[in-house]
């Protein structure tokens, strides 16, 4: 398909621990289309985070081609990669990663400041809109440590979306949250995906979360096991059924 926003071809990634070479990915290929809501699943050490790092342009592959928004990341300078992240990708982290000395508003505004595209008024409008969407408009002046875990992750979602990126990467976004709050975050992400058409790629090993994805890419030992719908992934359905 021609409209793949992320295109990964025969990618390997090795980590060097001293003299030992640890292969994290051993020839992964993956196409993600614009507007997809994809879950990357797999046990610990299967290479989920490595794959997300490559897609997120914070790391480069040992071999193979990673194309994000049509650009081969290997050919870009560190500077250009940073710019690519700033303008094309939004990040949601497992442990929220908010800047503790900044207020909720400032945290969300931060990527806009880096972009230097909007003036103060436009930024304000944009930030407040996002905060309203995540239901935290009234908390704009709070500091992150005054918020609950779920609220913090919602701020992170707002921060990831404020620049209207094409892709949002979320690494275990619900792992640090209780199941109810986790569910709310997934619902929020899903809503954003629906309303804005933003591509979401998230890793999780929570079967319940996977059920919301329109595709599940299962990794094992650095290789793509398969790419299925949640329905096809029997395990996911089963655990979903169990939960009911």
């Amino acid at each position: 398909m021609s409209d793949s926003i992320v295109s990964i071809n025969q990618v390997t990634k090795d980590y060097h621990l001293g003299k030992v070479v640890v292969p994290a990915l051993r020839g992964v290929s993956l196409q993600v289309h614009s507007g997809e809501f994809i879950s990357i699943a797999g046990p610990s050490g299967s290479g989920k985070t490595t794959l997300l790092n490559l897609i997120g342009c914070v790391d480069t592959a040992t071999s193979g081609v990673v194309k994000v928004a049509g650009q081969d990341t290997k050919l870009l300078s560190e500077r250009r990669l940073t710019d690519l992240r700033l303008h094309t990708i939004g990040f949601i982290f497992q442990s929220f990663n908010l800047v503790s000395v900044l207020s909720v508003f400032q945290n969300v505004e931060f990527p806009l400041l880096l972009q230097k595209k909007l003036n103060a008024q436009e930024r304000r409008k944009q930030v407040m809109m996002l905060l309203e969407q995540v239901g935290l408009a009234s908390h704009a002046k709070h500091r992150p440590n005054e918020l609950s875990g779920g609220q913090r992750q919602r701020v992170a979602v707002a921060r990831a979306l404020v620049t209207q990126p094409q892709i949002v990467l979320a690494d275990e976004p619900t792992a640090n949250l209780d199941s109810v709050t986790g569910q709310q975050i997934i619902d929020l992400m899903k809503a954003m995906n629906r309303e804005r058409g933003t591509t979401f790629i998230f890793s999780t090993h929570d079967a319940k979360v996977m059920t919301h994805a329109n595709a599940v890419v299962r990794l094992k030992d650095g290789k793509v096991l398969d790419r299925v719908t949640p329905a096809e992934a029997g395990l996911a359905m089963a655990s979903g059924a169990e939960a009911h």
């Binding site: 710019d83 982290f93 000395v101 400032q106 400041l113 880096l114």
Partner: protein
């Protein structure tokens, strides 16, 4: 702009987040405080001291011979006077220097030191006796005067007896039987009935015997070291306007004479008990000290009460009687021994000091000689001349002087002023009279001047007289006759009356010259211009600033500054290391935050400026507080003033109080230092921070 505001906000919020920052802040605060206050204080002392040095002796610039072996040191060096070469004539130098448009006056100078003996009790008593005999012979004897003479004679006799007793004790103490036989004989004669019985037959001759033989044996006259500056006294007084005459009068224009420094006069020539009473009074008036608590004051009181001898020796029987009765009245005592009464009287306390001080000056002092040298009397100064022989010159003391503001400074007070002609003579330079005297001697003895280059030819050549040695027949030259030749006779009395023309004062040797500038602000440029002047180079002159001319003293502030900067440098090295470490730690703690920012899209330059800005804010906030506190302190001190705690400080403070001022340069230096040090110490950690990979943001910390 908005980014900068955000960064500043981040920086400020991070400021008090960790206690490490507070510690660094504290050190920075202290260091800036030190830079500001220390710098301001030293600058103030520097300028105060420059006023002291410039205003007392040095002038703005000093000029001296380039042939000098050592550098000029107007206030003396560690080991005495600096070895500077003489400049043969002052006049051409003056003419050359006055060509410079910024030179106001040129004052000739020469410093030297000599030993003098301040007269002892016997000398003083004998001098008084001589005075009475003179009056007698001029106006005829009165019964009153006779009584005084008898009393003084009895006093001298008493002193001779006391001296014999002392000599006996000394013999026991040092086991030295070898007393000079002439001294023993003289002392025995002075104690004998026969001598005193015959005294009136030839009173002046008897006095002379006592002056020559007895007085030198009395050891209570001090050998004093006196430092003097030979100068054109009129020019000096005009040029150094802080100088003021205290006692007596200025030396009349063109005459030989000295002005003693008031400090020197008080400190060394005043009756010691009186000096100590003055010092106690001064200390008590300061309001800080009491006799009951201050060991120094207690020592003075003790010295006064245990050493009544100085006073008792001065009093002849008549005056002793008066003193006894006055002291008995004051003390309400029945004691008859004068020494005990004086001792009791001088045992002062905080309660009775004020009355005792008044009584001392009103009742006791009129009976005494308060100073060992009176204004108008002649001081015999004996100095080693440049060529090594001893030169003695009589110089009348006309008065005392002081520099306003430096009254109490021993340093400024150490210098006595002398006329240029006497100075030259003491220095071993041939004055006009001496040249005349030598010419006369040559004429008398038929000496022929022989040039060095043809000496051999003239002395031993064919034309030389063959009876070169034979002339020195014993007895041919009457030695006594030579000594009392016209020149020597002239020296005794007439020289002191002679008035020297300005030309004579200026056309002669000097050691240095002080320049007073019209515009002191231009000191540096004037100094440079004079140093470059070819004419001065041709005259073989060295031109130095007051600071260099003052020798060690001038370097004092420089040394203090070096110590201060040493401390500051150490402090800042510590600050540097600590900041470096702390920022490193902070960076490590914030790896995740930095990684997140990088992941979200912050460039490395952003991270770099963030870390640098944070340290800079830290430095500026605490440094600013330190500078503020420092300036506040200096401003406060500038209003209140720092009192000169000891007399020595008067010189450095150029007066009783130092009013420090803060100059912009102190603040600028502090600012640059703080910003520089904080930036410098942060570069490496900041660089490390930029190397934090965005991957770290993804890593989960347990």
């Amino acid at each position: 702009m908005a980014t900068l505001r955000l960064l500043l906000q981040v920086a400020f919020r991070n400021l008090f987040k960790s206690w490490v920052n507070v510690i660094i802040g504290g050190i920075i605060f202290f260091a800036t405080f030190l830079v500001v206050t220390g710098g301001a204080l030293l600058d103030s002392v520097d300028s105060a001291m420059s006023r002291s040095i410039i205003g007392s002796i040095a002038g703005h610039i000093q000029v001296y011979s380039d042939k000098s072996k050592e550098e000029l040191a107007l206030f003396g060096n560690m080991g005495g006077e600096a070895d500077t070469a003489a400049i043969d004539s002052f006049a051409p130098i003056k003419a050359e220097l006055e060509k410079h448009p910024n030179v106001k006056t040129v004052v000739p100078m020469g410093t030297n030191g000599a030993l003098i003996t301040s007269g002892n009790t016997v000398d003083l008593t004998l001098a008084r006796l001589r005075g009475l005999y003179r009056q007698n012979s001029a106006e005829g004897e009165t019964p009153e005067r006779r009584a005084q003479i008898d009393s003084l004679k009895a006093h001298v006799r008493h002193l001779a007896n006391l001296l014999e007793g002392e000599q006996e004790t000394r013999k026991l103490l040092i086991r030295d039987d070898e007393r000079e036989p002439t001294e023993v004989a003289a002392l025995a004669k002075a104690r004998s009935e026969a001598f005193w019985a015959d005294f009136e037959k030839d009173p002046l001759g008897s006095l002379e015997f006592l002056e020559n033989q007895l007085a030198p044996q009395v050891a209570d006259g001090d050998l004093l070291f006196i430092r003097y500056v030979g100068t054109d006294l009129d020019a000096f007084q005009k040029s150094f306007d802080r100088m003021q005459i205290v006692d007596g009068q200025a030396v009349p224009t063109g005459k030989r004479g000295m002005l003693l420094s008031k400090y020197f006069y008080e400190e060394f020539l005043k009756l010691k008990a009186a000096r100590r009473m003055d010092l106690i009074k001064e200390a008590l008036e300061g309001g800080q000290k009491t006799i009951a608590t201050d060991p120094q004051l207690q020592r003075w009181v003790k010295e006064n009460s245990t050493q009544p001898r100085e006073i008792v020796y001065q009093l002849d029987p008549i005056k002793s009687q008066q003193a006894v009765s006055r002291l008995r009245d004051i003390l309400g005592s029945q004691e008859t021994d004068l020494a005990k009464l004086v001792s009791e009287f001088l045992k002062v306390t905080d309660e009775n000091f004020e009355t005792r001080y008044k009584q001392f000056y009103e009742q006791l002092v009129p009976l005494l000689d308060l100073y060992r040298l009176k204004m108008g009397s002649t001081l015999t100064i004996t100095a080693f001349s440049r060529t090594g022989y001893v030169q003695s010159v009589n110089v009348p003391v006309y008065g005392t002087y002081q520099f306003s503001g430096l009254e109490k400074s021993p340093l400024a007070g150490a210098t006595n002023l002398m006329d240029m002609v006497s100075f030259r003579e003491l220095y071993g330079y041939l004055t006009e009279e001496k040249k005349a005297e030598i010419a006369q001697l040559k004429l008398k003895s038929g000496t022929v001047e022989v040039k060095r280059e043809n000496a051999e030819e003239e002395l031993f050549g064919e034309a030389a007289p063959s009876t070169l040695v034979a002339d020195a027949t014993p007895g041919l030259i009457n030695e006594n006759d030579q000594i009392t030749s016209n020149g020597a006779a002239l020296r005794n009395e007439d020289l002191l009356k002679r008035v020297y023309a300005q030309k004579e004062i200026e056309e002669g040797m000097v050691l240095s010259a002080a320049l007073i500038l019209k515009d002191p602000e231009l000191l540096d440029s004037t100094l440079a211009e004079l140093q470059e002047s070819q004419a001065l180079k041709d005259l073989k002159l060295r031109v130095v600033s007051w600071q260099k001319a003052a020798g060690l003293i001038g370097q004092f502030v420089l040394m203090m500054r070096m110590v201060l900067w040493g401390i500051i440098v150490i402090l800042f090295v510590v600050v540097l290391a600590i900041i470096n470490n702390a920022v490193m730690m902070a960076t490590l703690q914030r790896v995740k935050e930095v990684g997140t920012m990088r992941a979200i899209g912050a460039q490395r330059s952003f991270i770099l400026s963030m870390v640098l800005l944070e340290t800079m804010v830290l430095g500026l906030v605490f440094g600013g507080a330190g500078a503020g506190a420092g300036s506040a302190l200096i401003r406060w001190l500038g209003k209140v003033g720092i009192p000169a705690g000891s007399d020595e400080l008067y010189f450095f403070f150029s007066g009783p109080r130092l009013l420090p001022t803060l100059s912009a340069s102190n603040l600028i230096v502090a600012f640059i230092l703080i910003v520089g040090v904080s930036l410098f110490s942060t570069f490496y950690p900041a660089f490390l921070a930029t190397r934090v990979s965005p991957v770290t943001a993804m890593q989960t910390d347990e």
